[in-house]
Symmetry: D2
Subunit: 465 residues, 4 copies
Amino acid sequence: MCGIFGIVGNPEASNLTYLGLHALQHRGQESAGIVASDGQDLRAHREMGLVADIFNAPVLEKLPGNAAIGHVRYSTAGVSQLKNAQPLTVEYVGGQLAVAHNGNLVNAQELRTQLEADGAIFQSDSDTEVVIHLIARSKQPSFEQKVVEALSKVKGAYSILFLTDKKLVAVRDPNGFRPLVLGMVKNSWVLASETTALDLIEAEYLRELEAGEMVVIDETGLHASQPFPPTRLGRCIFEHVYFAKPDSVLFGTSVYETRKEMGRQLAKEQPAPGADLVIAVPDSGVAAAIGYAQASGIPYDVGLIRSHYVGRTFIEPQQSIRHFGVKLKLSAVRQVLKGKRVVVVDDSIVRGTTSRKIVKMLKAAGALEVHLRISSPPTQWPCYYGIDTPSRQELIASSHSVEEIARYVTADTLGYISMEGLGSAVGDKERTTFCTACFSGKYLTGNLNPGATSVSESNPKLATA
Amino acid sequence: MCGIFGIVGNPEASNLTYLGLHALQHRGQESAGIVASDGQDLRAHREMGLVADIFNAPVLEKLPGNAAIGHVRYSTAGVSQLKNAQPLTVEYVGGQLAVAHNGNLVNAQELRTQLEADGAIFQSDSDTEVVIHLIARSKQPSFEQKVVEALSKVKGAYSILFLTDKKLVAVRDPNGFRPLVLGMVKNSWVLASETTALDLIEAEYLRELEAGEMVVIDETGLHASQPFPPTRLGRCIFEHVYFAKPDSVLFGTSVYETRKEMGRQLAKEQPAPGADLVIAVPDSGVAAAIGYAQASGIPYDVGLIRSHYVGRTFIEPQQSIRHFGVKLKLSAVRQVLKGKRVVVVDDSIVRGTTSRKIVKMLKAAGALEVHLRISSPPTQWPCYYGIDTPSRQELIASSHSVEEIARYVTADTLGYISMEGLGSAVGDKERTTFCTACFSGKYLTGNLNPGATSVSESNPKLATA
Amino acid sequence: MCGIFGIVGNPEASNLTYLGLHALQHRGQESAGIVASDGQDLRAHREMGLVADIFNAPVLEKLPGNAAIGHVRYSTAGVSQLKNAQPLTVEYVGGQLAVAHNGNLVNAQELRTQLEADGAIFQSDSDTEVVIHLIARSKQPSFEQKVVEALSKVKGAYSILFLTDKKLVAVRDPNGFRPLVLGMVKNSWVLASETTALDLIEAEYLRELEAGEMVVIDETGLHASQPFPPTRLGRCIFEHVYFAKPDSVLFGTSVYETRKEMGRQLAKEQPAPGADLVIAVPDSGVAAAIGYAQASGIPYDVGLIRSHYVGRTFIEPQQSIRHFGVKLKLSAVRQVLKGKRVVVVDDSIVRGTTSRKIVKMLKAAGALEVHLRISSPPTQWPCYYGIDTPSRQELIASSHSVEEIARYVTADTLGYISMEGLGSAVGDKERTTFCTACFSGKYLTGNLNPGATSVSESNPKLATA
Amino acid sequence: MCGIFGIVGNPEASNLTYLGLHALQHRGQESAGIVASDGQDLRAHREMGLVADIFNAPVLEKLPGNAAIGHVRYSTAGVSQLKNAQPLTVEYVGGQLAVAHNGNLVNAQELRTQLEADGAIFQSDSDTEVVIHLIARSKQPSFEQKVVEALSKVKGAYSILFLTDKKLVAVRDPNGFRPLVLGMVKNSWVLASETTALDLIEAEYLRELEAGEMVVIDETGLHASQPFPPTRLGRCIFEHVYFAKPDSVLFGTSVYETRKEMGRQLAKEQPAPGADLVIAVPDSGVAAAIGYAQASGIPYDVGLIRSHYVGRTFIEPQQSIRHFGVKLKLSAVRQVLKGKRVVVVDDSIVRGTTSRKIVKMLKAAGALEVHLRISSPPTQWPCYYGIDTPSRQELIASSHSVEEIARYVTADTLGYISMEGLGSAVGDKERTTFCTACFSGKYLTGNLNPGATSVSESNPKLATA
């Protein structure tokens, strides 16, 4: 997953971008980068790591100019390399160009093969580089037209920012998979993945970009257009379930309030009569747990504490520790849990291994019963639009019933919210404006990675470590 | 503040110490260190920074042996240097010695002056080094007797671990200011500042060390004694209010449940009739806010989100951002707060500047009214026993009434818990077992830093930036 | 300037490449890189800095395979960036490709403009990237044919190595500007800029590649061909004067012996009757100084000591130190110089500022007279074939007579070797096989950078600091 | 070995110290440190590594004040740790104190045992710390008197600088083992191990400190005294043979000229009739080789080139390379050596392994005969006064005749200079002012490490790898 930010017309463009990226850090912790334009040259700084560690005053001083774009990135291990860090920067016939992309293209490999056959050379593994090649090869007269021609060839999810020496161009794909909002601070235009970035820099939130909309900002001001024909909306429902920061306004509704509503729906659909308290798996389950408590009348409490200091390279002792990975991150509050029948609310179950550790940890801390409630339907299908999910085989719900999953995670009961309930919580009961492919398998675009939807029939063995 | 950890009789001593320090990281983020003994040599590794960044497999491999002690440290800026990082290690007539100390000695300067007059040389600014000199100069025959003689000369707070090539000695001061608990894992004895460290490594919690108790662990087993005469207990009440991790059991009671009880008391003493919701200043205010909500019947909700990625060196734009410092750490959830009368629960007010920023931020996010409730009495006196507090002049409550503070922090109402209420919440209504000097000025030991209790009569100007 | 190394058919390919680069470190200290092929994948490691600091056992373990190429680079300040470090690696229609290039193309900008117009995008400033684009766009059926087609379009200097998953291709430009030698160690083929790299790894020196020759090494063995038509040879004479390591055999003759012969010629052409001793500016002037001493009969001695510990960022005190920059690198041996008439031999004079500092330093150390002798003719023209020289205006000899230069550098006398003398020393009295453009302005290729040969008529002011 | 530098009365004290340490870098490459005094506080910076890597403008800005001392250190592997880096800094009854020491004390362990018995605690392994304890325990009224009392108890070699907030005290031991010179720059007093440091900062060389002299520099000026009774001088002859920088003036004579004279003596004593050329093992053998060539009439030439880029962690390929360690540092110039009878001059033979590799390398490069000539007598005894030598057993000359050594190193002939010849070269034919213990075993002080002079009778096996 990724977060993007852009600003035009501000003498502190790179500093504000850096703050914006800090606010969007939850969207990607692997690498971060900023490219700034002083009207003549683009200057870039990209590194692996966290925004607060990568940027400081001396680094930002080397990124002068009134316009800047930034990017934070998370990706699966295999391609975690500096060369894939964004914004990408290149030189082509039109001059210098920087690109920051949130989302994932589903026909990138196909386009890349065509481009390579035609002599293109690639520096990164990133699908974003395909878009740059398409722009560089476009014979359209203006930069904007080149961008439109290039994007008309790609399929999939993109909220994307282009920065040249003279202008910033922002485009959101016709399905509107990933968010992108427009704001203004001190007469400067701001673009960001989420409103929380606007809030941090005290920018006013103006509106979300429309699906398929292109916005061009240059010295003459902002110019919006709709170069792509309207199509079915496909806002990512998982942004509301898990990804976005709770204080953001996403697709027009408050993330926090939406999650709380999911909890209320969940309480109605999957009650836990006789339970003593409702706790959350922090932090993503907190809002839904509070909603569940409110709707059910079961008291909300804190049964798991999240550490602020989770590192990456802890060495497990040979004298193995039970639930080691989860324990470094979460501590159980024994006195809250002891002898209690506990409803624990989480946002989703992926492989099931973490849920299993959490349930076991709660019981080890004294919980009499653990009733696991999930504020999204069973995750059965991988996402090809930008969220990092494992392959279908690894998704426990793709091959196991709710009962089987409950048994595996050792919960006394397990209840998922229904598709209808989730739709209702996000204000789209019919789910005609959201992409729910990860639950339903109904992908909105054609081209998917080869074998993407092929499902192993076998019932994979579950990890019981 | 500091955290300490020790283990004896385990082939993975340094690895378990490292995990223990990770669990105690909230007690000090400035430096960390581990010293391990293989029965012949002590080996040390100390660095500025976080446990997860300092230690890794190659570093831990260089710390072999069955016994180890560790330390995490926080201190005020002036003396934030590697030379003050602990455990301290020295060579003296008895051989090699390492020391890890939590607490603060109030007659360290006086003893240091005497020792220097007698030819001692000092490497660090730390009060702990005084103890080592006293041990080195003791003519007592055994190491334990040297330790007792040395500690009988110091006054103040110490939960302290000594490691030699052959044994680990743990002592808690006669007032029992700072916590220290004993546990066991796989036949290894464990000592730690808090039970959360035992939980992480799956050690069984046996008991707290008594005030004035000394425990010696060597190859013949554990030997407990009470070398110091009993005196009035002075457990730090601020550990319960703010410092300890909520999942720990401290001075015999659950930190989390105790904080929730503070919230309940606070609700009784300082109600907020007509309020729409109760929110916490995360994370330290969460338990009390939940208690307040339960006792008052006002719904609990999340109005402030804490960032997981707070760095240290953010550069504020010249185009200044309101409440910048707080905003990097906390985001307001606008949709929760908008048009609401909000009770916000925090653990304490120190200078008042942060509270002021938080109240303003809540109002900027739409809160109609902000009723600030504090789960401890006004902090009027500096701590000389190990908690980093500013000088008396900087403590807003030392020179301002509650009404004045309310006006300064721009809260509609402000209410503190009473001394009685807090005492009752920690299970000591008469406050005969706790140190409450930060609220009352009643220090339990004589020697305090020169001028420690002198109070400026002037009403210092408050920062309104 | 740069150095390149390649090896095929050796299980320790990357380790031997790293040793080879160490031996070639004098050809470039700014960045270094190695790309290894295991027959399927290319893996790369490139960093700014010195070979010994960049590579170590863990890094080399990540570069497995039987084939590898490496590169060390020096370049002018402006483009000293990691993105320009080589070997460059890309993916194109033929798969993965890595390239290491020594030399400089004179029509790179022109080709780049054409390629960009045709949709190419560029990642680096390097002229080498142009070659890769030309290969990627070639419609020739085989990789070798693509390489030949691509190189037939470029003009200038290139000794260049290409590594794919299956083969290594080495080409030397038709003029043979830069050296490239072939060797063999334990049945592995080795290519290197200089023979000193072969010596270090105990490879046998087989021969220099011919100008215009292409060598392809794959699992079937080595295949040599001559794809480019013969043209006038243009071996870089400055490699013999200054650049190459003295123990190398270059263009068929010993660098050390050739330099000594330059010294002997210089003694004949520019005697210094009455001088007491001959000293060198170390290290590059040592061989010529010894030759000068032998031919003149004036004793050779050491008057300047070179420091082994020259760093980059020394801060000059405000209380300014005379000849600061030179003094950090060279110390005068006062007792050798005192009261003596000294001949000092250097390889060349570029701007004159360093020579001026050296002469002044020798006089400050007590030299009665300083007779500066230069083992190359006046450097009047910039090099466009890979040696970093300043612009023509900055070359003192482009606008000043020998007498003027002598006065500027404060030498009592100044003498340069003649073109004939230098030619004779390198064994090419007629200079028909060497490029001498830096002395003569006779460039062997057409396309030079715009304005490359335009010379300012004005007499630039000399720095007298 | 170590180098020390001090300056008083200069606003750029720490910057000049840093330059002075750079000039003394050849005396120690393991760690470096500077302590500066602003008249009130001492501030220190010490790190492992090279001067140029450790210090830069921001670091030096944190070391303000008019007085500073610095230290560069080399030591044997076991105790290469930051805690042993100097200058050491402590606080004691007299306030802050920093110490920089060149030399080695022979009764340090004995004193340390006494001090520990008396309650002292030690932070480092360094013998220097003993001196600090003795000062801290002295009951003398003034700092100078404390220093004299402390030093009167130690035996061995010390050129030592003490810095307090108010003054700098420099002392040289009564034997005068290690050098220490006094200079002046812009009204600031300077102290340095060698004159090369004075030259770099343009300080005027005034004189060497006398053996047993103490110099105190404070705001009232420089005060010299002779607190220690005169004794036999014991200037380290190995400083002249190998250690000092050739451009320094040491013990009154030029290092370079003295080494050249050693070469002349060596030529007279150990001629090599019929040899074609004389080469040096660079850099330490160069001056003696030139002297040998002058006296013998055999031409001097360069047969070995020293690399400027020697790193520490080169990995030898499994396909082992002959003379690997030496080859990374030295390259043979094949065309100079081929078919020649070569005299090679080196300063000493320690274990014999390096000499063996060099001789073999010269023969592998084509030398017909190799005649090894050594400009010092056989090294038979370890140094206890500050030069890092292996134990007696490892010194090949302690148990092997010259003929045996020649055979081991595979030289056709081997000749050492005589004791008389060396004495004559250093201007002390009777050797009454120099310490020659490494050649003669005649140590000038009593207390040596236990077993220091015990010699194994067995003929240890030589490494022939």
